[in-house]
Structures are given as C-alpha cells and as structure tokens.
Amino acid sequence: MAYSLGIRGRVIGLAVVPVAIVGVLLLFQLIAGKIQDLDQSLRTRAVSIARQLAPAVEYGVASGNIDVLQNLLEKAAIEPDIRGAAVFADNGEWLAQVGMGAWRNPLRDGMPVDRIHEVEFADRLVYYAPITRTEVVVDDFQAVESGSAVPDRRTRLLGWVGLDVSRDATIRSQRKAILRSLGILFAGLALSLYLAWRIGRQITRPILALTHTVSRIGEGHLDARVAQTGRAELGMLQRGINHMAAHLQTAQDQMQAKIDQATARLVYQASHDALTGLINRREFEQRLERLLQSAIQHDRSHALCYMDLDQFKVINDSCGHAAGDELLRQLALLLKSNLRERDTLARLGGDEFALLLENCGLDDAVQVADLFRAEVQRFRFKWGDRIFAVGMSVGMVAITRDSGTAANLLSAADAACYVAKDRGRNQIHVYESRDLDLVRHRGEMQWVARIQRAIEEHRLRLSWQAIRRTDGSVERTRHVELLLRMVDEDGSEILPMAFIPAAERYYVMPALDQWVIEETLRLCQRCAALPGGTGHLFGLNLSGASLKDPAFRDMLLARLEANPALGPNLCFEITETAAIGNLSVVNAFIEALRGFGCSFALDDFGSGLSSFNYLKNLRVDYLKIDGAFVRDIVVNPVDRAMVEAVHRIGHLLGLKTVAEYVEDDRTLALLRQIGVDYVQGNGVHAPQSLDGLCEAETPV
C-alpha cells in the first residue's frame, strides 16, 4: 500500500494541513479575543457596579446607618459573579459585609481615594472604590462660605466600597469557548479529511489502475490494457499507456520473430561449417555418439570414414586461402551429391572430412568410400589459369558394439587415414586392430622422446653417399650427401624414414638439422686439417620447418660467421615444398649463405608440386630428380620422358642435374644417354660411415 499512501496521502495533506493551520490560528485568535473580551467585560461590569455602589452607600456611611448599607450591599451582591461586597469607613474600619471575601483594611493598605483600585487574584478580582461626599450647594452667596475652610479631599472621603468578583464564570465560559471551538475545529478537520479522502480516492483509483496495468506490462503481460475512464490528463495517460502497450506487443512479436530466426541461424551455425555448409565437428561427434549408441543397443553396423585431402596444403599455400576455401567448397558439393540419404558428411576442420555411413557393412562402406575417392581423383580444381589434381586419403573404421567410445573411433579413423597417406596417398585404409602401420603410427609419440634421447645420448650418426659424374670423370672436389642415421638403444641402426615423419610432425626437425650442421662443420674442419686432403662438397638436407625457423637461421649464420672458410664445402639440399610459402625469406637466406660460398640443391624434384616456375625463382645450383621417376626409367617411357624434360629444363636454367635412386648400370647408361650430369644411388655408391671419409682418396 506504500504507493497509495503517496498520492492520496499528499492530497489529504494538501487539503487538511492548510485547514488545520488556519483553523488553529483562528481558534487561537478567537479564544484569545473571547477570553480577553470576557475578562474585560467582567472588569468593566465590576468597576461599574463599584462606581455606582460607592455614591449609593454614601449616605449610609455618612449617617452610620448599617441597615441601609446592608440593604445596598445585598442588592449589589445579587448581580452575577459578585462573591461579596463590603463597606469601610474613612478610618479603614469595616462597616458592613455581604457574601464572601477576605478584605483588607483600605486605609492601612493605602488604597487610592480618587479612583477605583483593583486587586487581581487568579480566581477573583477585588475592587476598592472610594466613597466621597456628594457636594450640594447650600448657600446662595459665596460670602457665607468665604469664612470657612474649604474641605480638602481627605475630608470629603467617607470610606471605601469593596467588591469581590469571582472569575469562575469567566473561566468556565472561557473553558466552554475553548472546548466549543476545538469541537468545531475537529469537526471541520474531520470533514476536510473525509472530503480529501474522497477526492484523493477519485484521483488515486485510476492511478492505481494505471500502476497495476503498468506493473503487469512490466511483468511481461503485454496484452494488459487499462480501462478508459477519464477524458482529461488521466484519460490521455490511459490512452498513452494502452498505445504504448500495443506498440510494445507488436515490437515484441517482431523481436521474437527475429530472435527465432537468429536462434535458428545460431543453431545452424553451431552445428554447421560456415564454409562448406556441411555439419561441423561438434554436430558430427553428437551424431557419431548416436550411431554408436544405436550400434550398442540394437547391434547395428555402421561405418566411419576419415578423409584427408592430399595436396591441399600446397594449393592453400601457393594460391592463397581463397583458393583453398574454394577447393573445399567445390569438393563439399561434389561429395554431397554422392551422398546417400541417411549418410552424414562433415567437415572436421582444415582439409579433413568425415563420413558416417549408417547401417552399412564394411565392404559396402569401402565401396562407397572408393567411389568418393575416385570422384575426388577425377576432379580438377581450376584456379585462375592453373589446374590442380587432388587426391584423398581415407581411413575407415567399423562402428560396432565393440567399438568403445566415440573418441576411440575418431582416433582409429584418423590413424587409418594416416596409414593411407603414408602408403602413398589417394588410398583407403580400413582400420584393423592389429595393423602394423598403426602400431608404428601409435609409436610416433614415443619417437619424439626417442629422438630427444638420442640427441642427448649422442646416438645420432652420419653416413655418406657419393654423388658422381655420370660420365665417370673424376672432379677435384669430392661431392657427397651426408645421410642421418640413428643408433637405437639396442645398437641397431634406424633409417630416417622411421623417425623423420614423427620429427616433422612434432617439430623436432630443427634440433635434428642443427645436430647435422654442427656435425658437418666438425667434419669439414677435420678434413680441412688433413694435409694434402682432397676438397669436399658435403650435401646436407634442410627441412622446411628448419628453414622457416628464424632461430635456426640465425644459428646457422652465426656458425658460418665463426668459420667462414667452411662455406664453400657446404651444399644445402632443400625441397620445393619447404621453400613454398616463404619464398622471399628462403631466397634471402639462400643469398646470405651464398655470401659464404655455400651452394644449393633442389631435392626430390618432380614428386611434389613440380612447378617449373619455382626453378626460376629459387637460386639453386643443382636439381635432384626424384628417385620415383629414376627408379623405373628403364621400363617406363613416361618416367624416362619426365626425367628428360626435367633434365632439359634444368640445363636451360643453367643447373646441374642429379639423378637419385640409380640402382643398376642400365639405368646409369640410360641417364648417361640422356645427359644427366650426376648420379647417386646404391648402384653407384652405397652409403657408408664417416670413418675414413676424409682419408678416402679414390672413388669406388
């Protein structure tokens, strides 16, 4: 009720307070006036009685006639409010008395003889009026009197009349007047209060209705309306509030619609990938969980495919993200068009896609996945004037009641996909729990620790393989490639393909490369220290990760600055994929190293992007043709043509060409026929340990 006190209380206060103030002031004024009037009138009356009584008793006093006095006093005492009256002689002696009264001796108390004296008490007034002789002319001629003494005032005084007047009646009527006035005041106040309350209610009732409606609207009942009762300000207020509520309702409806739309969009966005419109990882995992549950509860069989695009990174890096995105969009469209109704295709992130095949046995699943893979392989991605072929590696796992958790399934599919990639890409690999490749993959994480340990325990070794001129002539400087080997804890030797992928994936390549460089520098110094030793050109591999690492580059430059003489002995072998994406940085680095006399070789050319464009931009000295082409050059004319083309272009660019994987003499002969400058391979020189490298004089 606090709100109703607000306005009603104020209206009541407004009406009553002025009335109360005016009333109290008037009452005070009236009572004061009335009391004064009453008192004044009592005094006037008393003085008048005393004034009349004084001459009346003159005779009685003069004649000493007590009866006359008594008679007069009794008559005077009949008057209202007179308590008593008394007469005193001029010597102050008491002559007569009527009624009550405690009298004083007027002579002794020095009462005035020429006027009426008033003595005031709380409950009564006492008056002493002097009695003087009335003068009567008795002589016709003043002569008679001239001889006599003129009577003075004192002799004219006969005595005093005392009059005792009660103030009780005055006080009583004062009290009555006060009570009556208070009664009127309170009655008036009560009436004002009632009227104010009525008026206040008239004002507050619509306002209360308004506040009720407003608070209902505030609580969200937008359909609440206030009844239209008034026409004046209140009416306007009521109309305004109804208007406002209607507007609010409309606005809220529109807002709700927008919110619903936005929510739907958010729900869609939360479950879908913005780029491709496929469902995203989160939604996919939920569906996977559902399928897994259905497999467990209803003993159904489903399949999960994990698909990773081959070469996506190359396209993304060389043509930019826009190209990568466009590729993903087009591929998503392609894959979606081949989807069965109940299958789910999702983009898990990057170039990873996943496929859920419901109620589908593994064999069927492999067929479906292969269809996908073939579609992707057929697909050509056009970007500007360039056309790219794309491959897809697929890892597949069956979803059965024994599949464990969804995370297990994803991990297994991912691992299977990796195996597929590892086996040469563009393949499908079905997960089997006893998969050797998976065992290896699972061991990758252990590899990181093993590599770190091997570095710390100095179990890394370098071996070397000679690179010789195809025509068999001998150069002054011996050209070899240094190859990294790891000695396992049991003493067996581990080839780099066993641990390099793990090192690349888990970013330990810079550490390995650093070890290789330091070891090579040491080897250079050792060879250079030998008197009369032949010059060497040591080829060593630099990974892309190391090239991109500023700390590694700084380290290498610092080492060369410390030993500038060793620069001409070094030939860094880099792959085109390592250079792509950092071309300017890599080129600057290459230039810096060339300043020390270092040379460069482009490794594994033809297996990756094989963009001749890079050959123009990368300032290298040697072009090493990928062994995959060289290996079958004798039986495969395409490979031979490929080698010839690469060789020709390399020569046109002024580069010396090197053929790897030369396993036999027929290949060597063919290469010689083609005109390739250098050969390398087990058929030329099998790798051997560094021991005695510097001392070895003659090629095998």
């Binding site: 002789r133 002589d139 006599s148």
Partner: protein, 305 residues
C-alpha cells in the same frame, strides 16, 4: 416697582434736606458674581435717580484705588468688607450680605477701626423670630425645633431659644465639635425634634455635609427649614431668605437717607427688612406635609415684596 414706592416713601425726607448736594458712593463687590452685581445694580438704580454718583469697585482691585473720596462705601459680601476694612480712611461703611455672626464677632470691629469709621450692616441671616413664625405657619403641629451647631456658635443658642419661644416652640440642639462625626448628634436632634432648623454654620452644614444631613432628616421624616434658596433646592422643605435685590433695596434706602442727612449717619445693624420664602413642593409631598404657597406665607409673615 417696589423700589419706586420705597423712594416715594423717602421723598418728604429728601425734600426737607435740600441742602444736600450730589455725593459719591463706592459700592465694593467681593467679586463679580451675579448676586453681588444685582445688589450693585439695585443701589445704583436708586441712587442715580437722586443724583448721586455710584462707583463700582472690586475687592481684589481695591488697594489701588482708594474709595477715600467717596462719601459712603457699601461693602457687598464678607470679601468686600474685609478689603474695605484693610483700607485706611474715614468713609462710613455699610456692610451688606454678611452673616450676623461674622459681623458681630469680627467684622464690626475691623471695619470700625477703633471707632474712626462709622459702620453698619444689613445681615444676611433672618431673625429667629421670623423663622419661628414661618415654622409655626408652615407646620402648625410642630412643637420642638432641632438645631445643630458647631461649638463656636454656642452663643446663638439663647437667641434661637428666645426666637422660638415667641411661637411657643421648644429647642433641641446638639453641638458638633470639629473632629466629631455629624451623624450621631444629627440623629439625636432629629429623634427629639419635629423640625430641623438649619443655621448658617459652615462647620456643620456645608456642601459636603448637606446631602447626608438632608437625607438623614428625610429618613427621620423631619422637615428641614433652611436659610437659602439653594438649600430649598437641595432638599430643605422650605427656606426663609432675602434676595440680593431685597438687600440692595434696603441698602439703597439706607444710603439715600444717610446722604440726604446733614451728616452721614447710618442706622444700627439690622436683619433684612425684606424677605422671601421658598418651598420645595416635592419634599413636602414626600414627607406628607401640606404647606401654604410661598406668597401666602410671605404675606402672612408680613413680608413685603
């Protein structure tokens, strides 16, 4: 008219005194109040006719202008008489409107200046015999007359008693000493007497005491016989008195006679020859008396208007 007749009465006397020439008469007034002026007017009216020169003087201005060259001086009122007495000179003086008691006690001696000045007076008082007669005429039933006197006036008692005796009236009197209250002696007198005779005695009856005296008498239902018209108005049933005109007429006659004689000789002091009676009819009615009309009383008393 009466004055005229009086002059006629004196005419043979005046004729015989042919040798008398016009003389100067000074009339000294105590003040300029109406009664004194009336006395002067009457004297002058009479004496002008006989060729005498009448000069009006006031007592207050007298020391500056001596009436020495006047042949006769008339002192009107006690104040005038005192003033004249204070003046040296041999001019005979006639004092009028003076109380008998005063004249006999002090006035005559002072005026006479050890016999060097001839003096006489016409009293203000009425003779007691005349008053007794009035009482007898007005209140035939009355037996005893009460009188209140101050101690100083004790000497009048015999005169009063003698006057009353002429009408077989007894006297009850009380002497009021100066410090005693009037009430008790008055009541004593009123208890005994049938009529209260007021005597001009300022010690007893004055402006202050008059009302209570009159009221007390009224309470005793005793009529008061006063000595002035004022007293009648104040509440005395009736009064016997002489008016200023009456006194003036008598004085004028005396002066005229004296001037016409070879040597100025004044008669012996005397009561007023002419008098009036005034009756308060209201008092008479209140007290239940039936009193003859004023004129009848005056006539029966032998008074001449």
């Amino acid at each position: 008219m009466r004055v005229f007749r009086a002059l006629l009465a004196c005419a043979p006397f005046a004729v015989s005194m042919t040798s008398a020439s016009a003389a100067r008469v000074a009339v000294v007034l105590s003040n300029d109040s109406a009664p004194y002026q009336e006395v002067y007017q009457v004297i002058r009216a009479v004496l002008d006719d006989s060729g005498h020169d009448v000069v009006r003087e006031y007592a207050a201005a007298l020391p500056a202008r001596s009436p020495g060259d006047a042949k006769l001086a008339v002192a009107v009122g006690v104040g005038a008489a005192d003033a004249v007495a204070a003046q040296p000179g041999r001019t005979p003086v006639l004092a009028v409107l003076v109380p008998r008691a005063w004249y006999q006690k002090t006035g005559q001696a002072r005026l006479a200046d050890n016999g060097r000045r001839a003096v006489s007076a016409i009293y203000l008082d009425q003779p007691f015999e005349r008053q007794a007669l009035l009482i007898r005429l007005a209140f035939p039933e009355a037996r005893r007359v009460g009188v209140l006197l101050s101690a100083g006036q004790r000497g009048l008692i015999d005169d009063i008693e003698a006057g009353l005796r002429t009408q077989k009236l007894a006297l009850s009197y009380e002497l009021v000493s100066e410090d005693r209250r009037l009430a008790l002696p008055l009541e004593n007198v009123l208890t005994e007497a049938d009529v209260l005779l007021a005597v001009p005695d300022p010690q007893v009856l004055n402006a202050s005491t008059a009302q209570s005296l009159l009221l007390t008498s009224y309470r005793y239902r005793d009529p008061v016989v006063g000595y002035s018209r004022s007293l009648t108005r104040a509440g005395a049933l009736l009064s016997l008195h002489s008016s200023p005109a009456q006194i003036g007429r008598q004085a004028a006659a005396w002066v005229s006679n004296a001037l016409n004689a070879p040597a100025v000789r004044l008669p012996a002091p005397a009561y007023p020859a002419y008098f009036s009676v005034s009756v308060n009819e209201q008092v008479a009615r209140s007290l239940g008396f039936v009193v003859p009309p004023e004129g009848e009383l005056e006539k029966r008393m032998g008074g001449e208007r």
